[in-house]
Amino acid sequence: MTLLTYMAKNAFGNPRRTALTGLSLAVSLALILVLQTILLEITKPTGLDESIPRIVVRHRTSLTMQLPRPYEAKLRRLPGIVAIVPFNWFGGVWKDDRFENFFPRFGTEPEKYFQVFVENSPRDPAMLAAWKATKNGCFVGDKLAARHGFKVGDDLIIKGDIYPVDLELKVVGILVGPKCEELLFRLDYLDDLLGETTRAGTYFVLADSGPRVDVLLPEMEAMFRNSDAEVKAETEQSFALSFVEMLGNIKLFINALVTVVVIAVLMIAASTMSLAIRERTREVATLKAVGFTGGHVMFLIVGEGMVVSMVGGGLGLLLAWFVLPVPKYFISIGAGILTLAVIGLPLLLVSVLLPETGRGWYRRGLARLRAAIEAYGPGLSVFAGVMVTLLLLQAMPSQDWVAFSGGMIQSMTVRPETMYLGVAITLIVGLGSSLWPAWSASRLSVLDGLRNQE
């Protein structure tokens, strides 16, 4: 035995209490990691490659205002520009206006698109040729295609809402890249439908280098100053960020929630620790009598708090890392636990409430029933819970969160930096919960402790 094993044995001396504290930490930590994941997903979406020097040019007044198409040629003449492509938000409705059937639909130009979005490519080079040959052809992002089962050759109808026309599109290609969740159609097809040249909502511009971007931004804005349509030029990152800012102060909101959860879990853990130490006052005194110093006692108790929090924190991290990213796991395990409770608790309740009165066979029968419930009840409910979990794991389709939540949740995949936060919170809770009980135990006098009758 070492001090560490002694510490661990103390931590599991009351396994039920440790389990409950650990579980509450695990659940809270998983919640914190989910919130943090959502926050990161919103503020720093994955798949945005910051090393690509790309500029977004749009109307100064707002995104709902559009820019004349001749602006493209004027912008193109600036030095340091590799490529430029117009983008037009079509909006519209596919199937119905339910949230899960919504995805971005942009009008653009095939060749130029791939010149500017160098990280994306057609799944098959022949697809680009097909797009150039088909006026009502469209590309769908690989992730979007996976979610809705779009294939090359499919016909899609997008009803217009901003524009008074409906798009009748044919899927000619699949877009492959880090974050391809949109539908792209040809802007000249929209021009044909409307019978006029549309304006462009935004121009995406690829510069030849990062430093060049800083020069280009003011140049572009100056170029159209005091015209009827002034422009705002910004990096792609700050363009993306402006959408986040539109949500309001989401960062404050989520950070406030996380703080409250941390405080709550800290309080729960601290009260459990002080409960555990108060019960062992005599033990602490004995330790001191046989020569443990205040420092030793402090080390033991803080260590015990750490063990408990690491058990809970570890479970929480495990939950967040493996279970949360896959809706199927999440649902099946949740349903299993629910089944266990729904079967187990009423059985327990019945066994307690069965009357102990009566005489003869009636009384014996009741006693036997109670014994049977107490003998088989727990096993039965655990069995049912495990079966439900296994069954759901088999039966449920392997969807991702986007498909599962109808687009409400983009991803539940916890990033490494979020995991570090989880580890830090685990350590803080371990330390924070045990510091006070440890300090008071280290100052406990042997005599006072031995007199304690608890």
């Binding site: 039920r16 209490r17 409950l20 504290t21 579980l23 509450s24 930490l25 659940v27 809270s28 998983a30 919640l31 919130l35 100064r60 007044t61 707002s62 995104l63 709902t64 205002m65 909006g91 409705v93 206006d97 009803k159 217009g160 809402d161 901003i162 008074p164 009827d228 002034e230 705002k232 800012e245 539109m246 949500l247 309001g248 102060n249 929630l257 409250v260 959860v261 405080i263 709550a264 879990v265 309080m267 729960i268 601290a270 009260s271 459990t272 002080s274 409960l275 608790l345 327990l348 309740l349 307690v352 409430l353 102990e356 409400m408």
Partner: protein, 388 residues
């Protein structure tokens, strides 16, 4: 025979150190529950308050929002003299054509945000019952003048009387401030519709609002628009219904609030369980004595469940008190159906507080259930031994 609740309450009070942390952790759950839902509440309220029951909103068929709707000048002339439309104090039919434009304006807190710039007709103001001009005057037709909603003045720069704001290509002067009683109009800027259309290069309106003479006339008016040949490209609906539909933009917040609260509640339930188990363990002897005195297992179960309920209830009350200061705090987000910022306030209602307390009580009872079961199952002999 039931054990008096007083007996448990004394125990709760005696173990106040352990109890208070449990109560507080439940309180925090409830505080989160109440504040997040009050956020959703405030946002919904902003939309609910926006419609007027006598108003009929006309949009283009197929449009889901004002922002993507178009109403032609000809439609206005066709609709103007439909039967059932009220007449204003000026003797003209109460019909307003409006446009909704978006402009990115500088915020007081730094940065910029999309503001809704509504082009209005003279009738627009009188048709919104909850809306009053608190400062300055109405905008004059044909001039670059703006009215600013009370909510917008707290969030955007240059919104005091006499300030000027640059929209697209020219400067606009603030001539009035209006209070729209916390509706979504409160976050808007209003100006003459024709003048704004010139500023934003548009030839058509976004929507048309008709004022019905009476509540009965509303349905009739909607039908008339549906059946009038000249208006076949338009769709009429109650203004109230249109804004009620937008309350669903608070659904994600509501969902998030409930989800977070439930997960936190699981953690708090475990805490309550720990506290109750400790309470039961330290009282095994008492429980056994009560059993000897003739109390049944059921009454022990009930007694401990009530104790847990009391802890939960207390947590609920404390949580409500913790959340109260947030009531009335204003914040903003984007209304995605108008693509512009909407200011709204956290709104705690008595009903929300009650549901917080109920939620907390459930946490208490669920957390206390297993320990109470255990208490009722302590064999009398073991319990008596533990006290000696």
């Amino acid at each position: 025979m039931a054990i008096p609740l007083k007996y448990n309450l004394r125990h709760v009070a005696r173990r106040w150190k352990t109890t208070s942390t449990t109560v507080l952790s439940i309180g925090l759950v409830v505080a989160v529950f109440v504040s997040v839902l009050s956020l959703a509440n405030g946002l919904s309220q902003a939309f609910v308050a926006s419609g007027d029951p006598l108003n009929v909103l006309v949009l283009r068929k197929g449009s889901t929002a004002e922002t993507n709707s178009t109403v032609r000048r000809a439609d206005y002339y066709s609709a103007k003299f439909l039967p059932g439309i009220a007449t204003g104090s000026d003797g003209l039919p109460m019909v307003a054509v409006e446009t909704i434009n978006i402009a990115s304006l500088a915020k007081l807190s730094g940065g910029s945000s999309n503001a809704a710039i509504r082009g209005i007709s003279p009738a627009s103001l009188t048709m919104r019952a909850g809306l009053t001009l608190t400062e300055g005057r109405m905008v004059a037709p044909g001039l670059n003048e703006l009215l600013v909603g009370a909510g917008a003045t707290t969030r955007f720069k240059n919104t005091k009387l006499g300030d000027t704001i640059r929209l697209v290509k020219s400067n606009w002067k603030v001539v009035g401030i209006f209070d729209a009683s916390r509706s979504s109009f409160d976050s808007e800027f209003w100006g003459d519709v024709e003048q704004l259309n010139r500023e934003f290069d548009r030839s058509m309106y976004s929507s048309m609002v008709l004022r019905a003479v009476s509540p009965e006339a509303v349905e009739m008016l909607i039908n008339t628009v549906e059946t009038t040949q000249k208006l076949s490209n338009l769709k009429a609906q109650r203004e109230v219904a249109y804004y009620a539909e937008q309350t669903k933009s608070s659904a994600p917040i509501q969902f998030l609030g409930v989800m977070i609260s439930v997960i936190m509640a699981v953690g708090a339930t475990f805490a309550a369980m720990n506290a109750m188990y400790a309470s039961v363990a330290s009282r095994a002897w008492e429980i056994a004595t009560l059993r000897v005195l003739g109390f049944s297992r059921g009454s022990i179960l009930l007694s401990f469940s009530l104790e847990a309920l009391a802890i939960g209830f207390l947590g609920g009350v404390i949580g409500g008190i913790l959340a109260l200061p947030i009531n009335g705090v204003t914040t903003g987000t984007t209304n995605y159906s108008s693509f512009s910022e909407i200011a709204f306030a956290f709104q705690i209602t008595p009903g929300l507080l009650v549901s917080g307390v109920v939620f907390a009580s459930i946490i208490g009872v669920v957390g206390g259930f297993l320990p109470a079961l255990q208490a009722s199952r302590i064999p009398i002999i073991d319990g008596l031994k533990s006290g000696s």
